[in-house]
């Protein structure tokens, strides 16, 4: 037990901090940023699965986020379903859509796959903007209800009207995602994903069915990101076609890259570090995005493995210094 504690104290500390965050946030605005960061961390984690671990740059990731958001919005708003039914159904629809488009799209490789998925993503945005009967067109859907309260016998019900309760809701989903991802990545299946990333031909030679393995990674990633999208729609209360846009995909891409590809902590770190950084750079105004672009180029040139890579390098250096002394 004590050995386990020694190894995991850092993670427990972070979990403890995450649990008490609501009591220390300075204002509602900052709290909202934290909640949205948590939500995007879920999406970024799933992007890490397909991009970081399986090595397929799916630029339709934002589109699947949008499908989840629209799914929940339409099911709860237009059809009046409960959020707790609408969320898994939307995620399943997204996964199914991923299955249908994944079969032809995954026949392509490298840049071809990136462009093919980017086109799929654009199609989703265009359809969302033009299918006015279903999606409300460019105005989107407004007035989406927050998640329905969960009744607990004897105590009452947990409602999700306050920021604190919404924060814990998102945190639970983030931890669930992290747990699931941890299980996947350190399983045999995770090794298969990485084998395909490192060398697809070699992976096939040792008996891995590359097509099915990539498809599995794609579908699972789309399921998870759609869930994040569904929660987003419900918490924010209004959506428009921009939730499915390439901008969202790029955000995920930045979070994963800046945090560190092919790590579990990286995407989460990126999802928090970047929005906070953006807040502190508000004074730059119009020049903020320029700074951002330069940052991206600098990071990819000098720290291709992101923040986590930089941290690991530093740890290794400290270790080697100690060994040398």
């Amino acid at each position: 037990m004590s050995a386990w504690l020694k190894e995991k104290w850092f993670y427990l500390l972070i979990l403890a901090i995450a649990l008490v965050v609501p009591f220390f946030v300075p204002n509602r605005y900052f709290f909202q940023i934290i909640i949205i960061s948590c939500l995007f961390a879920i999406g970024a984690l799933s992007f890490g699965l397909i991009l970081g671990y399986t090595g397929q740059a799916s630029l339709a990731h934002g589109a699947f986020f949008g499908i989840g958001a629209y799914g929940v919005a339409i099911l709860t708003q237009t059809l009046g379903w409960s959020f707790w039914l609408a969320l898994p159904i939307s995620a399943l629809v997204s996964a199914f859509f991923g299955l249908i488009v994944g079969v032809p799209a995954l026949r392509t490789k490298g840049s071809y796959f990136a462009i093919a998925t980017m086109c799929l993503g654009e199609i989703v945005v265009l359809v969302a903007g033009n299918w006015i009967d279903l999606t409300g067109g460019h105005n989107g859907i407004v007035g989406i209800a927050p998640p329905n309260p969960i009744p607990i016998p004897g105590i009452g019900a947990i409602s999700f009207e306050t920021q604190t309760s919404q924060y814990y809701l998102v945190l639970v989903f983030l931890l669930l995602t992290l747990f699931a991802m941890h299980r996947v990545v350190y399983s045999l299946q995770g090794l298969r994903f990485m084998a395909i990333r490192n060398n697809e031909v070699l992976a096939e030679a040792v008996g891995i069915n590359a097509a099915n393995t990539k498809l599995l990674s794609f579908v699972v990633a789309n399921f998870i990101v759609a869930m994040a999208g569904g929660i987003y729609a419900s918490l924010i209360g209004s959506i428009s076609p921009s939730v499915a846009s390439l901008k969202i995909t790029f955000d995920f891409l930045l979070f994963v890259l800046l945090g560190g590809m092919a790590t579990l902590a990286g995407p989460i770190l990126g999802s928090f570090a970047l929005p906070v950084l953006m807040e502190y750079l508000q004074f730059l105004q119009d020049y903020q995005m320029i700074f951002f672009g330069v940052l991206l180029v600098v990071v990819i040139i000098y720290f291709p493995r992101g923040l986590m890579g930089a941290i690991k390098n530093m740890q290794a250096k400290i270790k080697s210094k100690r060994m040398g002394a």
Binding site: A57, P104, K109, S111, C119, I123, L253
Partner: protein, 277 residues
């Protein structure tokens, strides 16, 4: 008309990809910068249309060299995805730089050839005809340059084998600067040609860049005939789909066609080898 513009822009993109294996995602944004440069040359500095066209090609060639030097050269031996990310950074800088400098609103360049031509029962404006003619001339010139001159052979050598090219004394850095200069100059010309017909705005680059990528992928990365044919096909699909089926969904047809073609031929129409990454 639209097809020939697409073809010129896509040609620059496929050149860079075919020779340097760089997916230059910021290409569409260079095109946008080109449109702005011609706009300012014409309206503020009082250049004529043709001098402005030449000048913007030269300036953009310079910008292309700088872009390659800053954002791509340090990544030459890294996986493609890294250059791709670097390109994303570059396009953020370009688009938001233009917004910060000149505002997000659209601008219009006065049309130098507003007249209408009526020949063989086809009616079209002079400017549109000009676009088509210049596109054809450029394509032919580029082909001649690559196939018939020493510099063209040098570029081809680097495309075939970088290390081999270095061994026979070719300066690969110089060739990549050169390639980028040609590629972005093409984008500059295309922008200057189309600018009098459509509005110019900081966001015009991203859609075009995306379409240029679609074309290049459609034709097969690095293939010059593929880029030309791909440009024409995309222009036709959009014009026909937009005209006969639904204008709101015209981009859906373009992107859908790409996905369909890739489903049957994963390396594009003219693509040869399968990419490793």
């Amino acid at each position: 008309m639209l097809g020939s513009t697409y073809a010129i822009v896509a040609l620059g993109l496929t050149l860079v990809y075919g020779i340097l294996q760089i997916p230059n995602f910021a290409h569409g944004h260079m095109y946008m910068v080109g449109a702005y440069i011609s706009f300012f040359l014409i309206t503020v500095y009082g250049f004529g249309y043709w001098p402005a066209l030449a000048m913007s090609a030269v300036l953009l060639a310079g910008a292309g060299v700088i872009l390659e030097w800053l954002a791509y050269r340090p990544l030459r031996h890294e996986p493609h995805i890294n250059s791709f990310i670097s390109a994303l950074g570059a396009l953020f800088v370009l688009e938001n730089g233009v917004i910060a400098l000149w505002g997000p609103q659209g601008q219009r360049i006065p049309n130098p050839y507003p007249g209408v031509i009526d020949a063989f029962g086809i009616t079209m404006t002079q400017q549109r005809l000009l676009v088509i003619v210049v596109a054809v001339v450029l394509i032919v010139l580029l082909q001649l340059f690559i196939k018939k001159t020493t510099m063209g052979s040098t570029i081809e050598a680097v495309a075939q084998n970088q290390e081999g090219a270095m061994l026979v004394g070719i300066n690969v850095n110089w060739v990549s600067s050169m390639t980028f200069a040609i590629s972005t100059a093409l984008a500059g010309v295309a922008a200057c040609l189309v600018a009098p017909i459509f509005m110019i705005s900081p966001s015009m680059g991203s859609m075009l860049g995306m379409k240029a990528f679609v074309i290049v992928i459609l034709g097969g990365l690095g293939s010059v005939p593929g880029a030309i044919l791909g440009g024409m096909i995309l222009g036709l699909i959009e014009a026909l789909g937009g005209g006969y089926l639904s204008a709101a969904y015209k981009d859906v047809f373009a992107f859908g066609a790409l996905v369909l073609i890739l489903a049957f031929k994963p390396t594009g129409l003219f693509g040869k080898e399968v990419q490793g990454r």
